[in-house]
């Protein structure tokens, strides 16, 4: 086992300021990031056997596979996994090429306005500010956190729910970024419901029914503690509301209401 390198906090802060000031944007278009060796340190408590390779964007189910790779390689507790210095190190050094590809920086941002490019870089390479939303958006930390939130050792395939989470982009966004998704029981219950009700979420209806479901569950969550219910009880509540979900989905589709169902309860 070897200790993991991480960026110093001040280095992270300075890099962000440099981007906002337009001083370092072109560095992110290069093949490799020139790290200032004096501004990285060995973490005292984050260790790794061997730095794993990631599957590059474009390969089938690359994010799901990478989620399992990162989660298995980096044995972190939640507090360690909120360390922006770690994720900034990984996105700038170990997985530089991966983040470049995934962010489509070179492909799509070569001729854009400086401030737009800076924002895009910060979104993909940094976690700024530290928040659950940004932990689940950063190209590398999202891989770890997705697996952490959904791994279930009681299942035959402990990553079955992780696979469900990555099966549909909107699902990931809503569950990962919304308040309901932070409730363990709800997250797992919903993903199980998703797996068990394939027909209900068939492709043409998927988008609107998912959004309608979360809108209704958010309303119920205003007076009911989902966190005290078990998965079976939560799935029953979702099931009991199927007709309401269908009706609301139809209304939203008809009016093309693209509201964000991840509204806080």
């Amino acid at each position: 086992m070897k200790n993991q390198y991480i960026f110093k906090q001040k280095y992270v802060e300075d890099l962000i300021v440099d981007l906002y000031e337009g001083r370092s944007i072109n560095k992110y278009f290069k093949d490799k990031f020139q790290v200032d060796e004096e501004k990285i340190i060995l973490s005292r408590d984050i260790c790794i056997e061997e730095t794993p390779k990631l599957i590059m964007p474009g390969e089938d189910q690359y994010e799901l596979k990478n989620s399992l790779i990162i989660f298995e390689a980096y044995k972190l507790n939640p507090v360690q996994a909120t360390d922006v210095r770690l994720w900034t190190q990984l996105s700038h050094v170990e997985y530089w090429k991966y983040v470049q590809e995934r962010s489509k920086l070179i492909k799509n941002y070569s001729n854009k306005d400086e401030s737009e490019v800076a924002e895009h870089i910060i979104r993909h390479w940094f976690i700024n500010p530290l928040s659950p939303k940004n932990l689940l958006r950063h190209d590398i930390s999202k891989l770890w956190w997705s697996a952490y939130r959904t791994v279930d050792e009681t299942r035959t395939d402990k990553y079955e729910l992780t696979k469900a989470l990555f099966s549909y982009q909107d699902l990931y966004r809503v569950l990962a970024e919304g308040t309901l998704g932070r409730i363990d029981n709800f997250l797992r219950a919903f993903l199980e419901f998703w797996l068990e009700n394939e027909k209900f979420f068939e492709s043409q209806e998927r988008k609107w029914r998912t959004r309608a479901l979360f809108r209704i569950m958010n309303r119920i969550g205003g007076y009911k503690l989902f966190s005290v219910l078990n998965k079976k009880e939560i799935k029953k509540i979702i099931g009991d509301n199927k007709e309401s979900i269908k009706r609301l989905a139809m209304t939203m589709k008809t009016k093309d209401i693209d509201s964000d169902p991840s509204d806080d309860v």
């Binding site: 802060e13 962000i16 300021v17 906002y20 507790n77 939640p78 507090v79 360690q80 996994a81 909120t82 700024n128 500010p129 530290l130 928040s131 659950p132 939303k133 940004n134 932990l135 956190w145 939130r149 308040t179 932070r182 409730i183 363990d184 309303r219 969550g221 205003g222 007076y223 009911k224 503690l225 989902f226 966190s227 005290v228 219910l229 009880e233 309860v265």
Partner: protein, 300 residues
């Protein structure tokens, strides 16, 4: 999860609510250790209906601990009085603790004693998980170096601008508030040895830190300012928020943007001497003037 009072389908017991004319009282303490955090909680309600349900196992007290930064949410079932240990690997920065009593079973025709007369003869069907009482929320900071939060350097940094001369500028969209000084001012600032000089620190607080705090708080305390949504996840914002919620002197403030200058001064209050920045700055100047006068007098 703060209870959404507008969407409650049945009356609940809660401080500040007149749905039910009874109380829900809570006591809360916490201690931070290296490996774990201890929370001590007491909860009780004066409502007889709920107390009967509690006794019969049809309702239960619960303490919900939520740490947004680590996505930690867990309930602890405390009965009336309990101690909760949480590993410090699970919590960092702002932690919210909420107090509930909820139904564990379906209850038909629920009607709590001392219900508001507005409900007339209404009864309610209540289901498992439904909140019957809400005891409010407390906040604490799960940071072992809690005292570091009170240090200005934890939320503020100084950097140079491109221009040689010009006013200070502030930048809020960062984990720390950034004060941009002109090149000349920044060079002079770096020449000042303030690390070990309390008097110099006090003057800098008045001249540099106080305006920055006031600016940041003016935005933060303006509920209608759309910038608030963009800023609320930054570390400085969370620290300000927590300090405002936990500083006794700020209890009586309505917290509108007009209060920003006063709030800034209270947040900068010297914890040891209990003096505000203006008091310290003026005292430093008086002392310096006196010292200079004495030097002049001695020379004569």
């Amino acid at each position: 999860m703060e209870i959404n009072k507008t969407s409650l389908p049945h009356p609940i017991v809660a401080p500040g609510s007149d749905d039910v004319m009874d109380s829900f009282e809570t006591e809360f303490e916490r201690d931070l250790y290296i490996d774990f955090i201890v929370i001590r909680v007491k909860q009780k309600t004066s409502n007889k209906t709920i107390n009967t349900l509690l006794k019969n196992g049809k309702a239960r007290f619960c303490v919900a601990v939520n740490c947004p930064t680590t996505l930690f949410r867990k309930n602890y079932y405390t009965d009336t009085d309990n101690e909760i240990n949480i590993s410090s690997d699970l919590l960092r920065d702002r932690v919210e603790v909420e107090f509930y009593v909820y139904a564990t079973n379906s209850i038909k025709a629920y009607r709590p004693e001392n219900i508001n007369d507005d409900y007339e003869n209404s009864t309610f069907d209540v289901f498992p998980g439904d909140v019957l009482g809400y005891g409010g929320r407390v906040i604490f900071w799960a940071e072992k170096k809690w005292k570091e939060m009170e240090r200005v350097s934890s939320i503020l940094m100084v950097k140079p601008r491109e221009e040689n001369h010009g006013p200070m500028l502030y930048y809020l969209q960062n984990e720390k508030i950034i004060i941009f000084l002109s090149k000349t001012d920044f060079e002079n600032f770096n020449k000042i040895d303030y690390e070990d000089d309390l008097e110099i620190q006090r003057i800098l607080h008045g001249a540099i830190v106080f305006p920055a705090f006031t600016y940041a708080l003016t935005i933060m305390l303006d509920a209608d300012n759309p910038l608030n949504d963009d800023l609320k996840d930054y570390k400085w914002y969370k620290i300000f928020k927590t300090r405002m919620e936990t500083t006794y002197k700020l209890n009586d403030f309505e917290m509108s943007r007009e209060d920003a200058p006063v709030v800034a001064q209270i947040l900068l209050e010297d914890q040891a001497g209990k003096t505000l920045p203006i008091e310290r700055t003026l005292q430093c100047m008086l002392d310096a003037q006196k010292s200079s006068y004495n030097d002049d007098t001695n020379e004569e």
